[in-house]
């Protein structure tokens, strides 16, 4: 083949490949895709700075008043819902997208004009918080509502029912605020949406809605009791913030056999009775369990891939963690430096890819952490990940090669 022909072939091939990619581009929301497996956890997303290893984040951090400092909920195939504190005592809700956590986009650059959040030019999120939002929604063409993934509502808005009727059958994740009690028309409209998920942290009266949605797959609720959640057979992912101490146990949820992800906040040891029923759990996050001293129940969860033990102040022995042979991601986030007797049991988790410890633990118990690094050489403990930056080695190597080459030539001359 001649040189020109090979060049032409190459350009044509490149053009075809580019064309195929561009043609598939706008219609394929690659950046929106969140994996249904392999979620990982992160403490201090806002302070950690680098989030490149954390493509999927799911964790709730308890605040002083028992409310979440922030929470991150990832819904498979959908979006990341983030609650962050704006001012002390207040919570601001925001939506971010997995692409942010791919390290490819700056969260500050996220396109959100008013209530219109778009990706690849398509509206994926709808705000129904104000009369203006609702009026605007009523005027939207059907095409604008075709790709919705999430809706945020204000249940106290009188015109909300009309707007929701336009979304019948949309199958979105519903979040928001306002009171749902004693609003049968609103409940009917919400049921007609056929939500796949409900984030009900600011929706008093959510119990009645859940009772009419037996096929919910994702649920995040503040709960005084587990009773309203009983019987959700399709549930995959459940986040519960216990609002007050209760003796109810996880036995109540025995019908949710498909549960794969469970996050519990403000937990007493009694609540965890019956957790062995959920042997198929892949993710388990405990936050703020001050009385919990024994985690031997982990022996009953052999399939765990992700485990968070956060603010378990009486927990000193994390030996049972070593029995989770499939563990890929682990966070042991304690308040007290010397609380955990030994981190060595973690070394038994040979599949571990990511270990998150408090910064002060990494710093002040450095000998132990170094031992862990030796025992688990492939586990990422500080977030370091070697990638294309290795190419920087070419610069000094080229200089060395140049110098050596010139020296050789001079000697030969």
């Amino acid at each position: 083949m001649t040189s020109r022909a090979s060049l032409l072939c190459c350009l044509v091939l490149g053009g075809l490949l580019c064309g195929a990619g561009l043609a598939a581009g706008p219609d394929e929301p690659v950046h929106l895709r969140v994996p249904t497996k392999g979620s990982c956890v992160l403490q201090g997303y806002l302070s950690l700075g680098s989030m490149s290893p954390f493509s999927t984040i799911r964790y709730m951090q308890a605040g002083k008043d028992g409310r979440p400092d922030y929470s991150l909920a990832v819904f498979p195939g959908d979006l990341v819902y983030v609650v962050v504190p704006d001012e002390p005592g207040e919570l601001r809700t925001d939506l971010f997208f997995p692409m942010v956590f791919d390290g490819q986009l700056d969260p500050k650059q996220l396109r959100a004009e008013g209530g219109r959040v778009t990706l690849n030019g398509r509206r994926i999120f709808l705000d129904l918080m104000t009369p203006e939002d609702i009026a605007a929604t009523m005027k939207l063409p059907e095409s604008e509502l075709a790709d919705l993934r999430a809706v945020r509502i204000n249940a106290d808005e009188p015109g909300l029912v009309g707007a929701l009727q336009r979304l019948a059958g949309a199958g979105v994740v519903v979040s928001g605020g306002g009171v749902l009690k004693d609003k049968p028309q609103l409940l009917d409209a919400l049921v007609a949406i056929r939500p796949v998920g409900l984030i009900a942290q600011g929706l008093p009266g959510w119990e009645k809605l859940v009772a009419r949605l037996p096929k919910l797959r994702y649920l995040a609720v503040p709960a005084a009791s587990l009773q309203p959640i009983v019987g959700l057979a399709e549930l995959r992912q459940l986040d519960v913030i216990f609002q007050e101490p209760t003796d109810e146990t996880l036995e109540l949820l025995k019908g949710s056999t498909k549960l794969r992800s469970l996050t519990l906040m403000n937990v007493s040891p009694a609540n965890l009775k019956g957790i062995e029923r959920f042997g198929g759990l892949r993710r388990f996050a405990l936050s703020n369990a001050p009385e919990l001293a024994d985690v031997s129940f982990l022996r009953q969860l052999p399939q765990l891939r992700t485990l968070v033990l956060g603010n378990c102040e009486k927990l000193t022995d994390i030996g049972p963690v070593g029995t989770c042979g499939e563990l890929r991601q682990l966070a042991v986030l304690s308040n007290k430096l010397d609380q955990i007797e030994s981190y060595q049991p973690i070394a038994k988790c040979q599949q571990l890819e990511l270990l998150l410890l408090n910064q002060n633990v990494i710093k002040d118990r450095s000998a132990e952490v170094e031992q862990l690094r030796m025992d688990l050489p492939e586990t990422q403990i500080t977030g370091f990940c070697l990638g294309s930056a290795w190419m920087l080695l070419v610069l000094p190597l080229a200089m060395v090669g140049l110098l050596l080459g010139r020296r050789r030539v001079r000697r030969a001359a």
Partner: protein, 207 residues
């Protein structure tokens, strides 16, 4: 073909294969041994290839490129970055440059020195066009391998990635072929990296 010519090509091929192996394993924790061997082999190929070369500076293309090529390629790289940002739904230009702009410059420079410099320079005995195309293929191969097995949860479209890297590499390679200098390609790559990634708050996962 002369013996030194064949040796240079072997060094270049060794580097290209090693880089692909490194890229393929860089996000797989269990394959550290392969990664280590590949990394060492790649380093050895660069140093060895330059050491055995009679004109290492010329092999790397260390000379000034024509002003037209320099300006043209810088604009090309910049436009490519603008298009890339547009395709991702970001602002067309970065508002501010963060710390990552510096490694981005270094990585762009190193990649061009490796592929348009070392690999293409080593293959030049095959003919200008063939060297240009093969170096672009090697670069596209490395990039594809680097992104082929991403960490869990990261979706990558390999086809456009490979196509764009190949097409861009051919354009960069043409500048190397026509000017004998790697400078225009470096300028273009650096312009792309800074404009495309310079405002990121953190290094992308593949870095």
């Amino acid at each position: 073909m002369s013996r030194p010519g064949r040796a240079a090509m072997i060094w270049a091929a060794g580097f290209a294969v090693s880089a692909c192996a490194f890229g393929l394993t860089s996000h797989r924790p269990g394959l550290w041994a392969v990664r280590l061997v590949a990394g060492l082999a790649g380093c050895a190929c660069i140093v060895g290839g330059l050491y055995r070369s009679d004109r290492p500076a010329r092999l790397l293309g260390l000379r000034g490129g024509g002003i037209g090529w320099l300006v043209g390629l810088a604009v090309f790289g910049g436009l490519l970055a603008v298009w890339y940002r547009f395709a991702q739904g970001r602002g067309l230009l970065p508002g501010t440059l963060g710390w990552f702009a510096f490694p981005a410059v270094g990585i762009g420079l190193a990649e061009e020195l490796a592929y348009r410099g070392f690999v293409q320079g080593s293959l030049v005995r095959l003919g200008g066009v063939a060297a240009c195309v093969l170096a672009a293929l090697a670069h596209a191969g490395y990039k594809t391998c680097l992104f082929a097995l991403p960490p869990e949860g990261v979706a990558v479209r390999l086809v456009p990635l490979a196509g764009l890297t190949l097409a861009g590499g051919v354009v960069f390679g043409l500048s190397r072929w026509k000017t004998g200098s790697v400078a225009p390609a470096i300028l273009a790559h650096v312009a792309f990296d800074v404009l495309a990634y310079g405002d990121l708050p953190a290094a992308p996962w593949w870095v």
